[in-house]
């Protein structure tokens, strides 16, 4: 493998989150040339990632101009787009990982010159498909986010076959940037960096709450220095914050740093207070502790800093996190993080004092990052609390999906132990903490999937009899509809239905025997996940734990 590329046309934060993959790829393939294909706008952050040998740009602005400029004839637009693509297509890659969750990237990938590619791709009919288990999981569970417990970096690593590598976020900081930071932030701290804005309004904690927190923190630690960071578009928020915080000492660097200077500034601070932002990942990459307030669309289970010892706060309100299509007009989740409590918490982190004796927040979770026994990031609540059904099932799903994605056997006792630590629930109490009908629904799912397996087995025996094949195919479709109906009727079972649907849709266009064999594996995977869930839920031993099934 000589030339390996990662196609990541996402944003600043996602690129920082690509760094563990790049570093792990370098370890796995020391002689390979590692390429990164990024949007031109984010080249500067790509240049900071270690172990990258070549950066290739997709000029998003030029593309946008090409497809939208009114005075350009359509044929000229076509030519411009082709020129942009052709420049990239001149480069030969042995393998491209497409981490970009967009149809545009899948089409672009199909136009590039690669021996092999994986991730979000295009089939020969022009339909987007995901030919990678981990990225398939990502594309699927986006519709059941409250039950998903895998960090995006683990998904990237898994997609690249590097799961469990324990590589943390990392960036290189050039010396001139460090000099800049030393000049702007001379003398002793403690320093708290604050990033006010986020990529969308729904992920942005209000300036008033930042202000209350910082005022309180300054009362507690008068020597604390607040370093405002962010892009120029956030200057007005910065001005508002400063006007609301008389007595707080600010070093305002909003709009005044390049990306590497920002990294160096973060490196010189003791703590970053932020929302779910790219700056958060950058701080994690330079080893600065972060405390992130996840509101609206953001969930730390997906995007907490990929390193140990970082903190994320998140409301437990039933609508959190927002769905992707939601435009919330009543952001009550913002008020679930009390600023007084947060100031106390930040003080203790800055003073390296224990935080465990802080009172539990009534409507929010305080979560700390750590790597689990498999080298995957997980979030551990600071305070145990009563579990909601989705808290328990999310643990079970993590085990079940990890088994099908990585072949790591699901161990109910580990799931129960985590539930004990976090929610104080005994294994035999699981059944009662979940909807009464759930075990019955799982049993029904298993029956249906088993029936599907039988149908496929019958099809294989039929050979190429068209009429029977048509009939069998129709029966299989009905079987799938029955599976989806159960998964739709119980949101807690949605991941089973969604994963099955994606797997069926992503079956490749191959000969019938191969297709039958692959379909059987998909049903087998569903049955195996169902079995794991049933075993974990029925901890009282009423169900025998089935032997580990085949993994898809």
């Amino acid at each position: 493998m000589k030339d390996i590329a990662i196609l990541n046309l996402t944003r600043f934060g996602d690129l920082v989150q690509t760094s563990p993959v790049v570093v792990s790829l370098r370890k796995r393939h020391p002689a390979a040339k590692i390429h990164l294909i990024v949007k031109s706008r984010f080249r500067s952050i790509a240049e900071m990632l270690p172990a990258v040998d070549a950066i290739h740009e997709v000029d998003g602005d030029a593309l946008a101009e090409a497809v939208t400029r009114p005075d350009l004839a359509f044929a000229d637009r076509f030519r411009r787009v082709r020129d942009i693509v052709d420049r990239l297509a001149e480069i030969h890659f042995d393998l491209i990982f497409n981490f970009t969750h967009s149809r545009a990237s899948a089409v672009l990938l199909s136009l590039l010159n690669a021996e092999r590619s994986t991730g979000f791709t295009l089939d020969r009919n022009g339909q987007r498909r995901v030919d990678n288990k981990w990225l398939g999981y990502m594309a699927t569970l986006v519709r059941a986010r409250r039950l998903s417990r895998f960090n995006l970096v683990d998904i990237y690593l898994g997609a690249a076959g590097l799961s469990g590598s324990r590589a943390s976020l990392c960036v290189n900081i050039p010396e001139p940037a460090r000099t800049f930071a030393a000049e702007r932030l001379p003398g002793p701290g403690p320093r708290v960096a604050v990033q006010l804005g986020a990529s969308t309004d729904t992920k942005t904690w209000s300036v008033d709450r930042f202000a209350e927190t910082l005022k309180d923190l300054t009362r507690r630690i008068p020597s604390v220095r607040t370093v405002l960071v962010g892009v120029a578009a956030e200057e007005s928020q910065g001005r508002k914050l400063k006007a609301s915080c008389p007595g707080v000492w600010f070093e305002d660097l909003v709009g005044k740093t390049t990306i590497d200077e920002l990294a160096a500034v973060l490196e010189r601070t003791n703590l970053l207070l932020t929302g779910d932002t790219g700056t958060m990942h950058l701080a994690g990459a330079v080893g600065t502790t972060t405390c992130s307030v996840f509101v609206g669309l953001g969930t730390p289970y997906e995007t907490a800093v990929y390193a140990e010892g970082h903190w994320a706060l998140m409301s437990r309100i039933s609508c959190a996190p927002c769905g992707y299509s939601v435009k919330c007009g009543h952001t009550v989740c913002h008020s679930d993080i009390p600023s007084g409590w947060l100031a106390d918490f930040l003080q203790r982190i800055l003073e390296q004092k224990p935080v465990e004796d802080l009172p539990a927040l009534p409507r929010a979770d305080v979560l700390r990052t750590r790597f689990d026994e498999n080298g995957l990031l997980e979030l551990v609540p600071l305070h145990p609390r009563e579990p909601e059904p989705q808290d328990l099932l999310a643990l079970a799903y993590r085990a079940a999906f990890l088994e099908s994605l990585e072949g790591i056997p699901a161990r109910p006792e580990q799931v129960w132990q985590r539930a004990m630590e976090r929610f104080g629930i005994q294994p035999e109490k699981w059944r009662h903490a979940l909807p009464e009908s759930m075990l019955g629904q799982l049993e029904r799912l298993d029956e249906i999937a088993r029936h599907a397996e039988d149908l496929i087995s019958g099809l294989e025996k039929l050979g190429q009899q068209p009429a029977e094949l048509r009939e069998g195919s129709k029966s299989l479709k009905e079987t799938d509809q029955a599976i989806y109906a159960i998964a739709r009727s119980e949101p807690l079972l949605a991941p089973l239905g969604l994963a099955h649907e994606t797997a069926m849709e992503d079956l490749p266009d191959v000969d019938l025997p191969t297709l039958a064999w692959m379909s059987a594996r998909v049903y087998g995977s569903l049955r195996r996940r169902v079995a794991v869930l049933r075993e974990v839920i029925a901890a009282d031993g009423s169900l025998a734990f089935t032997a580990q099934g085949e993994t898809a």
């Binding site: 009114p70 005075d71 359509f74 000229d76 076509f78 787009v81 149809r103 009919n125 022009g126």
Partner: protein, 607 residues
Amino acid sequence: MLHRNLEALRRQNPDLAGTIDRCTPGPGFEALSASSGALTVRINGRLEASAEDPEHEAESLAAHFLERAAAVGATRIVLFGMGVHTLRFLERFSGKLLVVEPSVELCRMVLERVDLMHAFERFELIATSDRAKILGHPYFQGAELGLFLSHATARRREPKLHDDLAQRFHPGGVASPLSVAVIPPLYGGSLPVAQGCARALKELGHYVRELDLSAFWPAYQAIQGATSDLRLAGVSSTLRAALVRLIGETLLASFQLDPPDVVFAVAQAPLDSETLSRLRGMGITRAFWFCEDFRVMSYWKELARHYDTIFHVQPDEFSQPLREAGGYGVPLQMAFDPAVTHPLELSTEQRQRYGTDVSFLGAGYHNRVQFLPALFDLGLRIYGTEWPEDSAFMNVMPEPNVRQSAETSNLIFNGTRIALNLHSSPWCDAVNPVGDYLNPRTFELAAAQTFQLVDERHDLAKALEPGIEVETFNDIHSCRKKITYYLEHADERREIAANGHRRALAEHTYRHRMEEAVDALRTGPVPLAPRRSDLPTVGAVLESAQDEPELAAVLGRLEPDRVINSEAITLAVVKGEGELSREEKLLLYMREVLDEIQHYNQIGQTA
């Protein structure tokens, strides 16, 4: 230098030359010597041109402008800001160039020191910040391919003026097609108006989306049926509002992927303020043809400020109240659709069915019910709906209370010797003494070349000349008298009908109105987004892409008049066979990039 420049300028614009001659730049205007020795200018502390080598800078800038013009084949350029030396280097441009410089003082300073005599022989200069005056220049109305270019310094000085002008400049010229979504009512008299508008806009070369909302009509009827008891009036109103909301959401969804330039709604179109606001948010121009009597129908008050332009049929009386309600009004008379209404030779059977001396087609409004019985003895036949049941009207109605189609209406018009037209009024007993607007029937009867006897209207003479192209009455006596006279004088009757027909064809088709409307939208106070104003059709692209046979092969799967948008690209690709070709993938990539940009625009991020 100044005098020579002014002499040259005087030949094209003597007023401006005089203004510049009299002008004395204030203290904020400084003429400086750049490092190269050439003139540079500072206005209120900011440089208008380089302090190092402004001539070299101007040469590069002009080359860039020319390159852009050549790239799109522009034959007219509007250049915002004159720069200091730029014009000297633009002399190579062979097309039309209009220079718009907001500052007379800057003009004076440049003309004092830079030789622009040759430039003024080739190009026009306007020195004003008066937006209306600039927009009145023909270059803003030009039909040729053009470019709007600007000096960054001038843009900085006058950002709002710049943006206004840039938005109002149509790169494809005024002939460039618009994408227009015509929104009809669910049902009723304005439905054929909407159909006529859509047809006319298509004839004019615009890309028209004719939305069929008839599927919602049964729901509307169901609501009416379920809440017909007067005690449920409040519920009825709430439910109807909910239905209009639903229709609005449906329309908005249908515009998500391919938003039109303009939404053109016709009277009674089910668009509420929420939908209209969100259309605005999508950058869509909202126009409404309120072809009803504003004194009778009052719903316009609530919607006035949510439309960018309201076309209406009452130029004298309605403008003021419309302004007060926050609306911008443009008078637009009713019209007819020649595809539907035209002279016709009736078959024997049709003549037996529709042939008559005097007829009236219309709904049974109050004044008509009061007025028309006095004509029953003259052989009047009435067609239309909402006439009193169990009354004498039933005796003169061959098809009592049946809604007549446009086609049948045309047969009725053509079958009658004298067609009566009495404008409706809910409060007068006969002819409305202050009747101003003209109903569609006025134009349809003329279009069918039918002799029309119409009640006197304030604005009638502007459309059809009484006594020449149409005949009028003002009370029952004059009406009876003229019916009798013209039944006896067939030649005069035929001549007036023929005159009316000629005038109608020459001036009163929906095509004429839509030309006026589009023109008004393009020059009105709310600029049309130029972004979508020149949607390419397959045919046009195929012509310009003859050197791209693979691309042409893919697009050639579509009809030539189809506009190329995301939907069309998908269709072209779907029509192909086998594995996707590189061109198909590239087209899909264009589509996806465009969709991504639209998505990010909607969620307020950059792609």
